[in-house]
């Protein structure tokens, strides 16, 4: 089916149609925000799931990212004899770029794929139809809580990623590279403002929205048995990681230029 589309419309046409369908899905999600019922308990549940699932992977990954960043910064700055400035590099690269990106990609890989697979299974086994027929709006019941949940939780995941990676960078700087810890921390604080922090969190919120809508969209439009669930999950990962990296450029240009 998709292959036929590609042949008939060309890759561009296919992409265009797909983006159109996604936009319609997002519009429909927003429209149903004002549906008479808001499932607050589902929201809490989703926030809990997204947060706890992602955190367990995000925290260790952030440790390694921080260590890596510190070592790379050290090697680079050492060429100019300025290895003491590594704290500055770590601070800026981390809060503005790496923490939001890592938090986004990990949340996508953990919580996003779970959303896609879960909703695709419900679609394929007619549970979504059953919900509609019972008179419960599936957007309100399961899409909106996931999207809002991701938007609300992601900024905090960014902050966690930031603190964990900065701490690990600090430990490497002091205990492996033999830099002065106080100087490192002073540079970190001198080079980021609360503004940077907020902007990193905004990035996180945007990524959260992208991840949840793309995952839910991929699951919601799944068709064709177990293979369809696999395809939906696969598409979700490809689409959301591309979208996150893509929108990251615009957010950076818009907020930090």
């Amino acid at each position: 089916m998709e292959v036929v589309n590609v042949q008939v419309l060309g890759l561009f046409g296919y992409l265009f149609a797909e983006v159109g369908r996604y936009a319609y899905f997002v519009a429909e999600t927003f429209r149903n925000l004002f549906y008479k019922k808001f499932y607050f308990l589902n929201l809490i549940d989703e926030m809990n799931t997204i947060g706890s699932r992602s955190l367990l992977v995000l925290a260790p990954v952030s440790v390694f990212v921080g260590m890596n960043l510190c070592v790379e910064g050290f090697i680079f700055f050492k060429k100019f004899g300025a290895q003491n400035l590594v704290g500055m590099f770590v601070a800026v690269a981390n809060i503005r770029e790496l923490s939001p990106l890592i938090a986004g990609l990990i949340t996508g890989a953990k919580a996003g794929t779970q959303m896609a697979a879960r909703i695709a299974t419900m679609r394929i086994t007619q549970q979504v139809d059953a919900m509609e027929v019972i008179g419960v709006n599936p957007y309100a019941y399961m899409i909106i809580p996931r999207v809002i949940g991701a938007i609300l939780v992601m900024p905090f995941l960014v902050v966690v990623a930031y603190f964990v990676s900065t701490l690990s960078a600090y430990l490497v700087a002091v205990y492996q590279l033999g830099l002065n810890g106080d100087a490192f921390m002073n540079l970190v604080f001198a080079n980021i403002t609360m503004q940077d922090m907020y902007k990193g969190m905004i990035k996180g919120a945007v990524f959260g929205g992208i991840i949840a809508t793309v995952s839910c969209y991929s699951g919601y439009t799944a068709s064709g048995g177990a293979r369809g669930v696999g395809a939906a999950t696969n598409l979700a990962v490809v689409r959301m990681s591309t979208a996150v990296v893509f929108f990251n450029i615009f957010l950076t240009e818009w907020m930090f230029m």
Partner: protein
Amino acid sequence: MIEFRHVYKSFGDLVVLDDVSCEIPEGKITMIIGPSGTGKSVFIKLMVGIVKPDSGDVIVDGHVISSLPTHELYEVRKKFGVLFQDGALFDSMSVGENVAFPLREHTRLSNAEISRIVSDKLTSVGMPNSECRLPSELSGGMKKRAALARAIVMEPDIVVFDEPSSALDPVTADSIDNLILEMQQRLQCTFVVVSHDIESTFKIADYIGMLWQGKLIAFGEKDKIMNMNNDVLRQFFSRRAQGPIQIVPPICKDLDEAGSRGAGNGRDVSSKK
């Protein structure tokens, strides 16, 4: 009342329903019969607005289902209790939560009240004390019955069952027939039941509709349909492989006795997915 007006539905090249019109009477049991793959489930999905017709209208109590705005559609759907062909229980919820789901969503009953109704309904489908089990732990027939309990828990005006007894043993199937009759007499609700079970069709139906090759070839009161002189109906009612309905032509041909007609006339169901 439910009315189909010149409903046409196809999936790609496959025409499933071709100009189907009928009026399903209120307060009666209407059975929809027809060979596998003729669009009985699609017929039901059109009725509740999950599938939209390519053209034509489906009208439920004056509402044109196919063109209703979303929130009104959800309101109209509260009139319905629907059992899908494969149950469609929510697999993340226990049986009890599944059955309680419509009550929790649409009523303000207390928890005690809800669990009383849930246990009542589960008992009436022959599954007492199974509230805590998960759908994945149930047999096919039990899933069907749990879904049945969920469909009737609100005591809806219109009850739609897609093959309620297809996965059940004859004794349980008969008790489901009795449940349908009892409910219909007590609540005067409209039943639309898809069934392959000719015996039970004759037992409980007030009206019968027969779908074949995209057409509703017969629709009317039970006695009228039973006595109709139509080859397709006669073949169906007498459970013969020979006749205008040809499911697997090559094998049937081998078994055919003299006098069978219409080989290759019917649709080859086996060639579809």
